[in-house]
């Protein structure tokens, strides 16, 4: 009786309680408990489609094979069961209400984008682009693509555009993040070959991070740093006191864009101290003597003056590099997005070479890549280098590639492609009249973005291919093609440590949206060049072509049987030539072979197998602060929950909660009080190119005279100054002159 009354009075169970009760998964799937509504029938592994870490996600499927949830894959050697919030939320952007379901064509009478069938869309695509080419020549057509699609799609796009449609000038948004590493490695090592494995994070005695904030930009890599059992010194070279700088053992708050000088200064001190590995230098490098005499001029006093750092700081860092057995150097956008970024990256490579910190566990000059498939794009984008890392300029390379693809080698252009900024200039000059934008958001992300609407008006036809017609760029298009997103198609990504991983199709694309691969196939047919691509009948068939292209290259992965083999092995790092396969039979979940680094034999990919010291005199930044625009504006990633222009991450309520929802600017308290700016005040940040309204975040994590703004808000690139590294043509997003003024006191009496 008592319990009857008690049950009546206290409803401990019922439908709402049941909704959240967690159950162990059936079938021994080895998954965490989830509510019964989300209990999977099975799981499949898929590589995350945001950043280059390349985490594996266990996607939970219902009985129809549709993804209903996911959890990070505990057995994958990259992420070991962890994911950042973007990975956890990877399925959410697929269900966004503004997914594009049909092609949209701009109606000339209404001026609006209106739904049309695929037949009409393809007709408009072919008719308009062919008209552009007839009037202005075949090279008047360009594409701008992305590091966000799978390797097979990139390769098909590059092949279709250059071999089928006759384009020459094509590029992708990887120019904005990774071009520098690509060029730096290619010149120094003879091939674009990041030498490291993530295991090196755990095996270093000292980790030197230059222009990198892995705590929020690559949290799963930071996880590996935290797993390092060797009690390492962690040095962070960054003008801002970032999350990573706070977590480090030493923060080196240098003046912005003085990194090249600092790195040469460190080399100078290492030589002075006799802390160079002569034996390694003599056996495996060239041009060292010239480099050594070059850095002679970078005395500690000069470097201290130019970097704003005390001389003791330089000695402290040199002490660490000189005395620690295993030193690894890691860089990201702080280096890559600079006006002399290639030489800066090579200055890092030089430090690793001269101290023999390469090819051993816990060492290396290591570029942490940005996008999930930046590395695939670098090998198979077919933009600056021919598919598979070959040279467009070499007859033998063109013939080799043409033979594998089964096409006439005359179809492969020998000319050099323009880089992203040169394509933009080409639009300005009238050389480019038709543009195809694939999975990138130029109108938001390109440097000095306010120029883009004018350029758009100069284009006769612009096509955007995206998951959403709501991006800033799609809104300006003549034709928008609805693309399937990550999770709605399959293919291979290559991560920062050269690991190939498979991304699977686990969700239905909405309406008539098609995978980029299918769209490229359709375009080829409609264009009339479908016969060239009969071998590319599916993503996996395309993969086999790319595998064949890799034969004999440093990136040789001919030992890979196919997608299932990659998944079985927990991803496979290149090189993986056919001869290697037999070594990998192992039952342990993370076989030792699953973490491989390059150059343990000191043999580099140059013709004489020697790594090259490259260097140049530092140059001043293009637009230093002056009396009219007295602040230096630094831009970068604002939080782990935001990805680039936010076209996907803004679709998740959870991710939106984890980051500021409006644009802010970080300012030092000394500057703020001098200008009468209080925390949260409305301000406007202005450069010679535009204005960006923001609210002030007063914090001493930015130095006096500097401001920081997150790149995820479109107003930021109204401010940035278009300067480019001469070797990589990568834009220098992190240095321009601005001023800041208060526009209104926030909610003040």
């Amino acid at each position: 009786m008592k319990s009857v009354v008690e049950n009546l009075l206290r409803a401990r169970t019922g439908p709402m309680t049941t909704e959240l009760v967690r159950h162990p998964s059936a079938h021994g799937l080895g998954l965490p408990q989830v509510p019964s509504r989300l209990t999977p029938v099975s799981t499949t592994r898929s590589i995350c489609g945001f950043c280059s870490t390349g985490c594996s996600l266990n996607v939970h499927l219902d009985a129809d094979g549709q993804a209903i949830n996911l959890s990070p894959d505990p057995s994958y050697p990259v992420n070991l069961g962890m994911a950042c919030p973007k990975g956890w939320e990877a399925l959410t952007p697929l269900a966004a209400t503004d997914r594009l379901k049909t092609p949209l064509l701009r109606n000339p009478s209404t001026g609006r984008l209106e739904p049309v069938s695929w037949e009409v869309a393809l007709g408009a695509f072919v008719q308009n682009f062919k008209a552009v080419q007839r009037t202005h020549g075949p090279h008047s057509l360009s594409f701008l693509s992305t590091g966000q699609i799978v390797m097979e799609e990139m390769a098909l796009l590059g092949a279709l555009a250059k071999f089928g449609m006759g384009m020459l000038h094509v590029d992708s948004n990887t120019r904005q993040c990774m071009a520098t590493s690509h060029v730096a490695y290619k010149q120094s090592f003879g091939f674009d070959a990041p030498p490291f494995s993530y295991a090196d994070f755990e095996e270093s005695d000292a980790l030197i991070f230059i222009g990198a904030n892995p705590c929020i930009a690559h949290p799963i890599m930071w996880q590996r740093v935290m797993m390092n059992p060797r009690n390492p010194e962690i040095v962070v070279i960054d003008p801002r006191r970032t999350e990573t700088a706070v977590a480090a053992t030493h923060h080196v708050p240098l003046r912005p864009k003085s990194d090249l000088t600092l790195l040469y200064g460190l080399a100078h001190l290492l030589i002075a101290r006799g802390a160079v590995k002569r034996e390694f230098i003599d056996a495996h490098t060239k041009n060292y003597e010239a480099f050594a005499s070059f850095v002679d001029a970078f005395t500690p006093e000069r470097v201290a003056t130019e970097t704003g750092l005390p001389v003791e700081t330089l000695h402290r860092v040199v002490e660490i590099i000189a005395t620690k057995e295993r030193v690894s150097f890691w860089w990201t956008m702080g280096v890559n997005q600079g006006h002399e970024s290639t030489r800066t990256a090579q200055a890092i490579i030089n430090l690793a070479l001269m101290t023999g910190n390469i090819g051993r566990p816990g060492t290396g000059a290591n570029s942490i890549t940005g996008q999930c498939n930046a590395m695939g794009s670098r090998l198979f984008g077919n933009a600056s280098s021919l598919l598979g890392g070959y040279d467009f300029g070499k007859d033998s390379d063109r013939a080799h590639v043409a033979a594998i693809l089964g096409i006439d080698s005359e179809r492969i252009p020998s000319g050099k492609s323009w880089a992203y900024d040169q394509i933009m200039d080409g639009i300005d000059s009238g050389a480019i009249k038709g543009l195809w934008v694939i999975a990138t958001n130029t109108a938001h992300s390109w440097i000095n973005q306010k120029r883009f609407p004018d350029l758009r008006r100069k284009l006769e036809f612009m096509v955007v291919q995206d998951m959403y017609a709501t991006t800033e760029t799609a809104q300006m298009a003549d034709l928008v093609l609805p693309a399937a997103g990550w999770g709605e198609k399959e293919g291979v990504f290559i991560n920062s440590e050269r690991r190939l991983g498979v991304s699977r199709k686990v969700s239905r694309a909405p309406g008539q949206a098609l995978s980029d691969f299918a769209i490229f196939t359709l375009v080829a047919e409609a264009w009339g060049c479908g016969d060239l691509f009969r071998k590319w009948e599916s993503p996996e068939a395309a993969f086999r072509l790319l595998r064949e292209l890799s034969r004999g290259q440093p990136c040789n992965f001919t030992g890979i049987e196919g997608y299932d083999h990659i998944q079985r092995e927990g991803g496979i790092q290149w090189p993986y030539p056919a001869s290697r396969k037999s070594e990998t039979a192992s039952n342990s979940p993370i076989p030792p072979q699953s973490q491989r680094r390059l150059f343990s034999d000191g043999q580099f990919f140059t013709a004489d197998k020697r790594a090259v010291f490259h260097f140049d005199e530092p140059r001043p930044m293009a637009e230093p602060p002056d009396s009219a625009y007295p602040f230096l504006l630094n831009t970068g990633r604002g939080s782990s929950a935001q990805w680039h222009t936010g076209s996907r991450t803004n679709k998740s309520d959870v991710l939106r909660k984890l980051a500021p929802v409006s644009l802010y600017v970080e300012i030092n308290p000394a500057d703020a009080s001098r200008l009468g700016i209080a925390n949260n005040d409305d301000v406007v940040v202005s450069s010679r190119r535009g204005d960006a309204p923001a609210f002030a975040v007063v914090t001493s994590t930015v130095q006096p005279g500097q401001l920081f703004m997150p790149m995820h808000f479109d107003a930021v690139n109204r401010l940035t100054f278009p300067s480019f590294d001469p070797h990589s043509r990568q834009p220098s997003y992190k240095a321009c002159a601005v001023r800041i003024a208060r526009t209104s006191k926030r909610h003040d009496a």
Binding site: R12, R22, N69, L70, S75, G81, P85, C215, V246
Partner: protein, 496 residues
Amino acid sequence: MTDPVRTLIDELIESQRRLDTPVARFAAAHDAGGAPRSQLIPLSAPGPGEQYAFQVDLDSCTGCKACVAGCHSLNGLDEEETWRDVGLVLGGTPAHPFQQTVTTACHHCEDPACLNGCPVLAYEKDPVTGIVVHLDDQCIGCSYCVLKCPYEVPKYNDRLGIVRKCDMCHGRLSAGEAPACVQSCPTEAIAIVKVSTFRSETPNPELAELSSTDSNYTRPTTRYISKNPLPANLRASDADTLRPQHAHYALVLLLVLTQLGLGLMIGSQLSALNAQPLALTGLALFTAGLVASVAHLGQPFRAWRIFLGLRRSWLSREAVLLGTAFPLLTFAALHPLIPELPFIGHWSLVIGHFAPTISIVAFLLAASGVFCSAMIYTDTRRYFWRFSQTSGRMAGTVLVAACAFVHPPLAAGVLIAKLALELSTSRGHSSSARLQQGPLHRQWGSRVIVGLLTLLLFFANHSVMGFLLFTIGELLERTLFFRAVDSPKMPGVPSV
């Protein structure tokens, strides 16, 4: 002849819609060893004088925020619902700038304010683990726990009409699996530990420092640890953010109308002239207030249990007192009409005999109910809702209404005192002052103007017009009462 492109389009669209039929597979992880992060939970249940608590290693927490997303996905929360939050604190010196991310879920307090305030006992503190569990099917959706919790932990769910909150994944814990946040943290910054519940000194100094609110009275159990002492000048990155709070219009109506109604009925006892119309109008307003209050509840059909919390919850007490007063007030207002009824006969004498007593009891109960209304808000320990403010405002409403038709200038006098009490909160640097002078300045201005016009009408002996305008002014005042309240919470991300 068929168009090859058209055929291909159909083929590709069809193949795009095809998914692999799933085959149940064993995940390798399970064979490889325990569930992720299972070393971060205690091996045994808490003993006497102990409970489970979250422990956050600040040195390892570097801002990835995976815990929030992991909790959301593994617990199957609604799209916009999160049980864990991550904020940022800033501080340090120019030479040593400092920033720290702070992850927070429910603190599973030793003396939980949510539990103490719940009118239907929808919260339980597990006697063994100390986990504060919310009973979703018991909850009536009154949101009082949202106001009571000084950390903004319980979250109202519109779809269900109830609040939900972190339960420390107690089902996982009992199965030896780490809570979702613990197993999703890449740097092992979150762990479950056993803490002693007998502590004499100030509990949890790090938490107090990070939360920058005086909220240790609930004895939150989360431990924040760091090898280095935290800088003294830490500030939440959203400390200057002014967040106008929910207006709770149904509660505005409940409070204002029941208080006006009671006031008019008291006035009717003092007024020979207008006794009957005043009493009936008062009853009508009081009734309307009670009806409006039901609209505030997300699950009104569960509200019959509201007496359960009488021992601890001022909300239970208010509901019971106002609810009991209602039939008696009805009697008090209507009894003069009873002798007119044809069938009543000599019973009218009996009724007449008890009527004054019943009326007095009714007024006492209703006045106690109004006192409870004030205590509901005072008991949240929010500064804007301190006793002088809540009791002064609510008693003021009753008194002005009582005098409005009896002695309008006296009503004006009381209203002057009430306005002075209200205006005292709009000056200074408190968040309520800044809210009223900032984002809420229009409502604040309207309230002041309406108040001043009301004074003029009362001084001019315009009772009816004065009372109407007074009602509007009180509705504005009570809306501000909710919107301008300070709302303590753990640090958030920068926002305006």
